[in-house]
Symmetry: C2
Subunit: 428 residues, 2 copies
């Protein structure tokens, strides 16, 4: 017997929660048709039931006790959009324990406890849907689980933090330095008052953990991801990169290599001909390579109330269909192993280096020798006069092991002719 009327409970009514309400109202008719029955929003847990809200909501639906949602037998699907980690984890666990399906937009939760919670859901014969936890409205989780299910994923590269992409785009297009671009991003609401999680790459590393665990069927421990932010990127480097044919982007990279998984987040020079180079401002994109499909890319708005709500509501629809048609929970097919992660020192990269040296004969030779002795070969070189006595030199190396490059840099730092090492960036 098909279940009639499916009950929804919402945890949180902030930016995403309000968007969910708006989408369910706006497209309720079409959604009802797709599910085959009505979705009934039965209860919303909020911190303060008295607060004025941007979205109109029946006060009778509000409660300040999450358990009124989690324990309500009339609620089949719990939508967790309250954020945070510990309370959200307890709430999700309790919802699963009560036999409910869970939809979450919480990247911190899924990055830290995703595998554990998914296994708990499986043991309960339920499921957690988390499309909205990465890339806002851009379909990423479903493509990895379903559309590309016949592929072995070889690598993924993503621009999955809108704040840093906005800042880097403004630096590149409007010629702003980092601080000015950050201030503008804050003024436009693309960066938070405390931007450190975005700017230092942590936000992107959480999202990478979620994507990589699915792409490579492996548990991912956050400390295994190498993370470097963009606060040291200078306008000058972006200009040189353009001259060399590159855009500078904060990339989250996952690769399945014979030595293990490569997992890293850092600013990188991306060739202007690569589709990721054209992803501007607050937009996100994830580029994947599968052994059958070849290269694919998914592009769109990685944040915002309605885009994120689009993903949450798609998950709600899927959960509702699962319930209505008494389908197996759909999670049986996902298993997470534990893969070796290659330490950053053993990974390979091509490097961009900007430095200042005394402008005198033999300086470039000493630099070239230091690289040659360490077995690092050079791909591109620009030398410009900085002032009467100083030359600015920009180099791009060929692919090399990180520790080999680091050894060469030790020698170079010690050269008496080198005045300063200004920038080191990776090239993809």
């Amino acid at each position: 017997m098909k279940k009639e009327n499916i009950g929804i409970g919402l945890l949180g009514l902030g930016t995403v929660g309000s968007g969910v309400l708006q989408v369910l109202r706006q497209n309720g008719g079409a959604i009802r048709q797709k599910v085959g029955t009505k979705l009934e929003l039965r209860r919303i847990a909020v911190r303060d039931v008295q607060r004025n809200r941007a979205v109109a909501v029946d006060p009778a639906l509000l409660t300040d006790n999450v358990n009124h949602v989690l324990d309500d037998p009339e609620i089949d699907i719990v939508v967790e959009v309250m954020g945070g980690v510990e309370l959200a984890r307890q709430a999700v666990a309790r919802a699963l324990g009560n036999g409910k399906y869970v939809v979450t937009a919480n990247k911190d939760l899924m990055a830290r406890h995703g595998v554990e919670l998914l296994e708990r859901a499986k043991a309960q014969g339920r499921n957690i849907f988390y499309e909205a936890s990465v890339g806002g409205g851009i379909p990423l989780i479903r493509p990895l689980k379903h559309c590309l299910a016949a592929n072995r994923i070889k690598c993924l590269m993503g621009i999955i933090n809108g704040t840093t992409n906005y800042i880097l785009t403004q630096m590149s297009c409007a010629g702003k330095e980092f601080d000015e671009a950050l201030a503008e991003a804050q003024a436009k609401g693309f960066a938070e008052a405390d931007p450190s999680s975005d700017v230092e790459g942590r936000d992107a590393s959480y999202k990478l953990a979620i994507l990589a665990s699915l792409a490579f069927s492996s548990k991912i421990d956050l400390p295994d991801i190498f993370v470097e932010g963009i606060s040291a990127v200078k306008l000058r480097d972006i200009r040189y990169a353009q001259e060399l044919g590159y855009a500078v982007k904060l990339l989250a990279i996952g690769e399945d290599t014979s030595a293990g998984l490569v997992l890293r987040v850092h600013p990188a020079l991306v060739p202007l001909t690569h589709p990721l180079a054209a992803v501007s401002n607050e937009f996100n994109a994830v580029f994947l390579e599968g052994d059958a499909v070849g290269e694919v890319m998914f592009y769109g708005r990685g944040a915002g109330s309605l885009p994120t709500a689009s993903a949450v509501c798609a998950d709600v629809i899927d959960a509702a269909r699962t319930i209505r048609h008494e389908v197996d929970n759909g999670i049986v097919e996902v298993t997470f192993g534990t893969r070796t992660v290659v330490p950053i020192s053993s990974q390979r990269s091509s490097f961009y280096l900007r430095l200042k040296a005394k402008d005198r004969p033999g300086v470039f030779a000493s630099l070239a020798n230091a690289f040659g002795d360490a077995g690092v070969s050079l791909d591109m070189i620009i030398q410009k006069r900085s002032d009467a006595e100083t030359a600015e030199i920009v180099l791009v190396t060929h692919d090399v092991e990180e520790e080999r490059f680091a050894r060469a840099m030790e020698v170079i730092r010690a050269l008496p002719t080198i005045r300063s090492i200004n920038s080191i960036l990776r090239v993809v």
Copy 2:
């Protein structure tokens, strides 16, 4: 009780069929884990069982009688990769009649008879999966059905023909004229010996019919789609477009407007800042706008053996899960209405126009007056001297109704000072 071992039958063993075999072999272990049971390839119908094949295959599997596949009770999923329309239609109908699920990569079939066959499948409690019919390995059908299910799709714009995109890219980047670029595409296997279906836009119109029917939940009749190919596009127009800040692409466009559906395929000037402008060579991409998600784009290889097989195999996995978990067929949620289609004459566009005129006082004024009298306003103008007596003029209009622009053109063609109208292209 869960069904053990699911039987697959293949109709056709050409480019796509061989790719399907290869993917099932290459990633069989992972696929088995995802489905939860083994997929057994039981029979392959081919035209000539004796023919030498690129892919190794057990001769005992081959038959030259499609009914040996369609009527085999051990076969649960029929994979139709034989192509053509009439025989494929009969085969799919017979497979459904025999209670089988169908996976097809056949765009001609789905564009012409998709809605009818999907309704037949529904009546049988079965389903047809057709992700591979548009965009090769790029996920498009599943995102429209599932990931964006909570959205009203406002418009879609796609580069969904690799041959024409390759030709236009070669014209733009290598400075080739159409004929030379076409010959190169043929030499590289990106264009067929008879390229007319690609070059004249028919292939793209079939794919648009499939995408638009899903995006707008409507039956689409092929004759309702306005189609114009790229054979009249000149290198000179591509150069002017670049000067004005545009790339020239063959676009398939679908829009849901208050007057009805807009459905058209034609070469178009796309702003260089638009993500579609960066889609080069044989790559495809579909750009969508939903009322919640905003702008999203899906990018990848739109053709080829393995990319297409990636989509076919994802469908096979979905069909197998459906069977194994005794799920409802998943089609109930898709219903196709019949929407009004706006005739091209009532649609609105901005136009690019290149013409030659006598180089004498008042010529430009007569042109400007003709546009002004018809209510067409101009956005951009370039005038260059062509020879001592002739000026070449390039104009871009603001948005205008097609028939209003056509009326202005009638007047302009009759002006004694106009030597030739060389190109008219639309701008998006």
